[in-house]
């Protein structure tokens, strides 16, 4: 890991996401156009993308995208990886030379299968991968895993969104789910890892906002083995989702209510059953509440969720057209790539917008009321 300053990234940003629920492939060029349309919301100091379905040749391997400061970090990390994973394939992440992009770190990707330890009866593959990510980020100087899911990948860095898109050759990928982000950091930038999305396993989070409860969230996550080393509050969102949905098996919608819970005045008026549930959510997951202004997009191999803070202090718009669902900071970013949507609306504060793939079977945990 290579944090340059002790300061946490503070940012005002733009975000955009698009999902084809029938898994029709969407060219990368589309998402670039959408995010670039919100130039006002960024200042060229960070942008990023995540695409799902981009690695059809390695659909079952964990795709690690890693940034290195230097060859030494790469050597050390690769040794670590080889001890714990079968490396099915690895290569440098293909990039182009772009005028606006300088000082890029070394960028590599690895397609990995865990080597299951023989003596562990309660082996959980995802926990194993998560621990490897935490270890590399925390312990190896100059190495940062910025993507670790199956058949998905995050691409991010310092630059304008169109430059970053061109640099990573996003236009050459096809995905059935894209998210993108452009950043307006308020402090000294310079670190590629500080850009969004933030990921863990196949969770990717892009975020516009500032989390006033960061200290509470971080210390809560530490109890469960997450290490918040990146000094940006978005990181905690990705980990909270992983904890609540993957590990605690909360229904996605319920997890969203833990992150942006309703007010007591509303809970107190709910019917008995619901009141009990929401009271318990706030009692038990109070430390997971994200306080402060935010709009976030959470994507994973099952779909896309958008969420606003509990008093809606950041803009957030959703739209539907045929099998596609769009979510963005501004309607303009949606209209740029979908001029006449069937429906456009501004979701209510704290009310998650969930769009799942039609073929996604997440069981009752994801038996959500969708858009």
């Amino acid at each position: 890991m290579m944090v340059l300053t002790r300061s946490r990234e503070l940012s005002g940003c733009g975000l955009s996401g698009i999902i084809s629920r029938k898994k029709n492939l969407i060219p990368g060029e589309v998402i670039i156009r959408s995010i670039t349309h919100m130039r006002e919301r960024g200042n060229g100091l960070g942008a990023g993308y995540a695409g799902y379905g981009i690695y059809p040749d390695f659909p079952d391997e964990y795709a690690f995208h890693i940034m290195y400061d230097d060859e030494l970090a790469r050597k050390e990390t690769e040794e670590y990886i080889k001890q714990r994973f079968h490396v099915i394939h690895y290569e440098e992440i293909p990039t182009r030379k772009v005028k606006g992009i300088q000082d890029s770190p070394l960028l590599w990707r690895y397609f990995l299968r865990p080597i299951e330890p023989p003596d562990e009866s309660d082996f959980v593959e995802e926990d194993y991968v998560m621990k490897a990510v935490m270890d590399i980020n925390d312990k190896i100087r100059g190495a940062y895993v910025f993507s670790s899911g199956k058949n998905m990948g995050a691409f991010k860095g310092v630059g304008e969104p169109d430059d970053i898109g061109e640099f990573y050759r996003i236009d050459e990928y096809q995905a059935y789910l894209w998210v993108a982000h452009t950043r307006f950091p308020t402090n000294t930038p310079g670190w590629w890892g500080g850009a969004h999305p933030f990921t863990l396993l196949d969770w990717a989070v892009v975020h516009n906002g500032e989390i006033s409860s960061y200290g509470t969230n971080k210390r809560y996550l530490e109890m469960f083995g997450y290490k918040c080393t990146l000094r940006t509050d978005t990181e905690v969102v990705a980990y909270l989702i992983d904890l609540l949905v993957r590990r605690h098996k909360l229904p996605l919608r319920i997890a969203a209510y833990a992150l942006a819970s309703p007010f007591w005045k509303d809970i107190d008026r709910m019917p008995e059953n619901q009141r009990r549930l929401f009271t318990a959510i706030r009692m038990v997951y109070g430390s997971a509440l994200l306080n402060g202004p935010f709009a976030i997009l959470v994507s994973w191999n099952g779909g896309l969720m958008g969420l606003n803070d509990r008093i809606k202090l950041r803009p957030f718009v959703a739209a539907v057209k045929d099998d596609k669902v769009y979510m963005a900071s501004e309607e303009a970013a949606i209209r740029e790539i979908c001029p006449s949507p069937d429906r456009v609306w501004a979701p209510k504060a704290g009310d998650p917008v969930i769009a799942l793939f039609e073929d996604f079977d997440g069981g009752t945990q994801f038996k959500e009321h969708q858009v």
């Binding site: 819970s261 007010f263 007591w264 318990a280 038990v284």
Partner: protein
């Protein structure tokens, strides 16, 4: 004089402006320490300053404003090491032998960590929230929480809670009236705290002297204490309460017991405490059935059995050096709430030497206990209440940011109803009618007015806390819990900051 007598050097001067004095005699009647008397031949009211304890009752009650009670400032030759109090204490002990008693909380000049912590606010990137326009939530749950919830969808497609949640206290403001016993306080003060807690949706604590029958109606907002003396502990007492608390220690006097002199045990106290009238009520230093953490576990579960597992059980300890490990043991022994009572906590009566030099600050205790329980992954098992010297709403905010769930207030509550911190509670002569059972003096404390003042205090603190949450950009108290990143230290050493888990002022993040 060859030997200095205890009363050679008064601590207070009582200045009476005889131009203003109308010789009404009010101050004579009000002085419960017999310091003031009427001198018939001079037709004057005079104060024997040696007896004055500086309670300022006479000053407050004089109808013409003729009295000024002041601490003597130039009593001995200045000495930075042998201060006046030290000198006087030696005279006193040379006079009488014995232990010097005191009441109230530690007033020595130790570092006050609260005053070295500053609170963060939002600017630009993160808007602050206006508490007058947006909801601002202080509701706090105290008790054991599961690590995770199980939620399933029922046939109707509605999410349903599967997890059974252990009983919790629900406080609408994370401020609870601290345990102060009936006996040390009189019934009027107990009535006032109970009524105020009820009105504000929070709780009060009986202390170790049990609960008077008249107050059983406040059971739903009452935490009842079970201390080493086991005064008035009955099945009914436990049943009527919202929660039970095992008192192991007290911040003002860690490791020692209590003593309510027989003179104070009148008819009502005798009935409530279930001891004969006129007998000394002795609380042994340890519980004679608790000599280990396993023993504590047995008592915790005995209480849980007796109350059908319907009430949280709290354990209160004095903040001592090894508090983190002790708290971890208590959490594992089955307690639902742990109260950490810091060395600034008050007392009805304690040896001054113990009050002044034993224990550690609650700020430190909260920080290390919260951190330890998190490291062990058991922070959800218990709630932490910080007690001992919480002075204002900023102390509450800081305590919660350091890792507490709620606070107890004792001294602040007494101040609200008139206490002037004269520290003479142990005499039973409190001129403000608070820590006295003399029915005549106790009348000075009107329970209704006292309740109103306590309610005002809590309302004021609640407003201020909402204001502070708003400026931090937080609209629910749970987002403050353990949020040490919103605190900064000023003037502390590196070690102190590490222990408190806070960064120095000037460091961003």
């Amino acid at each position: 004089m060859l030997y200095k007598s205890l009363s050679s050097f008064p601590v207070f001067e009582v200045e009476r402006d005889y131009d203003k004095c109308i010789v009404c005699g009010c101050c004579v009647q009000q002085c419960t320490f017999d310091a003031t008397y009427y001198l018939p031949y001079a037709k004057k009211v005079i104060t024997d300053e040696h007896k004055c304890v500086g309670c300022k009752r006479c000053e407050a009650m004089c109808p013409t404003g003729a009295i000024k009670v002041r601490a003597v400032t130039n009593e001995f030759k200045h000495n930075a090491y042998w201060d006046a109090r030290t000198i006087r204490d030696i005279y006193k002990q040379a006079d009488q032998g014995g232990v010097i008693l005191t009441g109230g909380g530690n007033d020595r000049r130790f570092r006050v960590y609260w005053d070295h912590l500053l609170i963060d606010a939002c600017q630009v990137t993160n808007p602050s929230i206006d508490p007058l326009r947006e909801p601002m939530e202080l509701r706090t749950f105290l008790g054991r929480k599961p690590d995770a919830l199980e939620v399933e969808y029922n046939e109707k497609g509605e999410p349903e809670l599967k997890t059974k949640i252990a009983p919790n206290l629900v406080a609408e403001i994370p401020v609870i009236f601290a345990p102060m016993s009936y006996g040390a306080l009189n019934l009027n003060m107990h009535k006032a705290m109970a009524a105020a807690a009820d009105a504000m949706g929070t709780y009060w604590n009986t202390g170790e002297g049990s609960l008077h029958r008249d107050l059983y109606k406040y059971g739903h907002c009452t935490i009842v204490q079970v201390a080493s003396g086991r005064f008035g502990v009955s099945a009914e007492y436990l049943k009527v309460a919202a929660a039970a608390e095992i008192k192991i220690g007290q911040g003002a006097k860690p490791g020692i017991g209590g003593h309510l002199p027989g003179e104070k045990v009148d008819e009502e106290i005798s009935k409530t405490r279930m001891i004969p009238v006129g007998t000394d009520a002795l609380s042994p230093a340890p519980h004679h059935d608790i000599y280990s953490i396993e023993d504590l576990r047995q008592l915790i579960y005995a209480i849980k059995e007796a109350t059908n597992y319907e009430k949280p059980v709290s354990v209160k300890i004095a903040a001592v050096h090894n508090v983190a490990a002790i708290a971890s043991g208590i959490a594992r022994a089955g307690a639902d709430i742990i109260v950490l009572d810091g060395f600034r906590g008050g007392t009805g009566a304690s040896p001054a030497i113990v009050r002044d030099y034993v224990g550690i600050p609650v700020e430190i205790a909260v920080a290390v206990v919260d951190q330890r329980l998190r490291e062990e992954g058991i922070r959800n098992w218990v709630s932490i209440i910080a007690a001992g010297g919480i002075r204002n709403s900023a102390d509450v905010i800081k305590a919660i940011a350091l890792g507490a769930d709620a606070v107890y207030i004792g001294t602040s509550a007494l101040l609200a109803v008139g206490c002037t911190l004269c520290h003479k509670c142990y005499t039973g002569r409190c001129a403000w009618g608070i820590t006295t059972n003399d029915p005549h003096i106790a009348k000075r404390l009107n329970p209704d007015i006292a309740a109103e003042r306590l309610i005002n205090l809590l309302k004021g603190w609640a407003h201020e806390m909402k204001e502070m949450l708003g400026l931090m950009g937080i609209n629910a108290i749970e987002s403050l819990k353990g949020n040490r990143l919103r605190l900064r230290a000023i003037g502390l050493t590196k070690e102190e900051m590490d222990i408190l888990g806070v960064l120095p002022a000037g460091e961003g993040i």
